[in-house]
């Protein structure tokens, strides 16, 4: 198996003296294991006598150049960091969906069944005021959208559900919503 097959790719730094392998290893280990960026002074303390901190760091940085991890100088000292280009591949987004507040869910359901409808119509149906906040939540979630205006005094906005609403609830079309009559199959009989 080939190991490091190309000595000519890694240019042996010309003029500058190569640091000892032990100095390189110590600097690498210390920066790796430290919880905070390692100040130059701390590196100087741990390195063997006669090693130049800058030279060691330069050699270490060269070793890590182009790799998955890079040596970077940040406020306070030296630190290893993941190569920036790998971030997107390593990022793991964990979805923690929230529950839609009850009022918002109710309003959404009413709009779904009675669209297009105006805000006063929603309020009349729910028998209570509809807060702007609730409307905003549904708008931001892309579940409802304005669908023109009603030809009535004040020309109020008509609201309806979006195609994202259908996708979110796994519906091919609005006609897949259970019929109201089926939902209310056994209405509470008023005695």
């Amino acid at each position: 198996m080939e190991e490091e097959p190309l000595p000519d790719v890694r240019p042996a730094a010309p003029a500058e003296a190569e640091p000892s392998e032990m100095a390189l290893r110590l600097a690498e280990a210390l920066i790796f294991a430290s919880a905070e960026p390692v100040p130059m002074r701390a590196l100087g303390q741990i390195l063997p006598e006669g090693e130049e901190v800058e030279v060691v760091l330069a050699a270490l940085a060269r070793r890590y150049a182009g790799r998955g991890v890079e040596l970077v100088s940040v406020a306070g000292g030296m630190q290893f960091r993941t190569a920036p280009d790998l971030g997107p591949s390593l990022r793991k987004v964990i979805q923690q969906p929230r529950r839609l507040p009850r009022v918002a869910m109710e309003t959404l359901a009413i709009i779904a069944y009675h669209q297009p409808m105006t805000r006063p119509e929603i309020e009349a149906l729910r028998g209570t005021n509809l807060s702007q906040e609730t409307l905003d939540v549904l708008l931001e979630a892309g579940l409802i959208a304005p669908q023109g205006r009603k030809e009535a005094p004040g020309r109020p906005t008509l609201w309806g559900t979006t195609s994202h609403f259908l996708a979110a609830f796994g519906l091919a079309s609005l006609s897949e919503l259970p019929r109201r009559e089926d939902l209310l199959a056994s209405p509470p009989t008023p005695t």
């Binding site: 280990a29 790796f32 294991a33 430290s34 919880a35 905070e36 630190q79 290893f80 960091r81 993941t82 971030g87 390593l90 990022r91 793991k92 987004v93 964990i94 979805q95 923690q96 969906p97 929230r98 529950r99 839609l100 009850r102 869910m105 109710e106 959404l108 359901a109 009413i110 779904a112 069944y113 149906l125 729910r126 028998g127 979630a141 579940l143 979110a168 609830f169 796994g170 259970p178 939902l183 209310l184 509470p188 008023p190």
Partner: protein, 256 residues
């Protein structure tokens, strides 16, 4: 080193032992023998000597030290019996149990030493000191599903229905105005004295509606009587109120 001297030393260090078995193990090791071949009797005597010594200097001893001492004293008495008797056999078995317990403990102590001699993370080797996390928590989305949508819809409908149930049922109110009109209309065809109830509208379902209409009609008739359009007569308290046309029949001309 004499046995007594070593007991003295142990006494001084007694507090450093993790319980009686720990001390016994130490005593057994002092015998420089394989644990399988130690003399339990010698061990017992050493232990009892240490406890005696502790008592002599009034060292506070935890109960388990004394319990072990009592048990070992019992064991010693059995081990001193001539072999062959049931009591002696009992002692032999108890000695074996003690020996094997010590062996287990010795094994675990060796395991602890083995663990301690490992390359220890945080002592000999170190892991990344400043870990980076690539995990992002996205809480911008909503958990949406059909059941909760439908439940919310039904909830809203039910609430609205419930609110509606609290309103009094819409009554067919026969207003005074209605009664006035009806009285005026019917007054022309009035043959003679007629009960007020004859002027009530038809199709009155609820008893309350009938009572309300009766009240309205009475009020209307009182108003018309005041205007001299009709006369009212009641023969006795709570008897039927009779309505008659006033002379001249102005009512019909007035309403036209």
């Amino acid at each position: 080193m004499s046995e007594a001297a070593s007991s003295e030393q142990l006494l001084l260090r007694l507090e450093g032992f993790e319980g009686p078995l720990d001390l016994l193990l130490e005593l057994a090791r002092a015998q420089k023998l394989d644990l399988a071949r130690i003399s339990i009797l010698a061990l017992v005597e050493q232990y009892l000597a240490v406890i005696e010594g502790a008592r002599a200097v009034r060292l506070e001893l935890a109960a388990d030290w004394l319990v072990m001492a009592a048990w070992l004293a019992w064991l010693k008495s059995r081990l001193l019996l001539p072999a062959g008797s049931p009591e002696a056999d009992e002692g032999e078995r108890a000695a074996d149990v003690l020996a094997s317990r010590l062996a287990v403990l010795e094994g675990l102590r060796a395991a602890a030493l083995w663990l301690g001699a490992r390359t220890l993370l945080g002592r000999d080797v170190f892991a990344r000191g400043a870990p980076e996390s690539f995990v992002e928590i996205d809480r911008s989305r909503f958990r949406l599903d059909m059941p909760s949508l439908l439940a919310a819809y039904l909830g809203a409908l039910r609430r609205v229905q419930q609110a509606a149930r609290y309103q009094p049922a819409p009554l067919t109110i026969w207003s005074v105005q209605d009664a006035l009109g009806r009285l005026e209309r019917l007054l022309g065809s009035l043959p003679d004295w007629v009960s007020l109830e004859q002027f009530l509208p038809e199709h009155l379902g609820q008893p309350e509606e009938r009572r309300a209409a009766l009240a309205s009609t009475l009020l209307a008739s009182l108003e018309m009587a005041r205007d001299g359009v009709l006369w009212l007569r009641q023969e006795q308290p709570f008897g039927p109120v009779l309505v008659g046309r006033a002379n001249g029949g102005t009512a019909s001309t007035e309403t036209g």
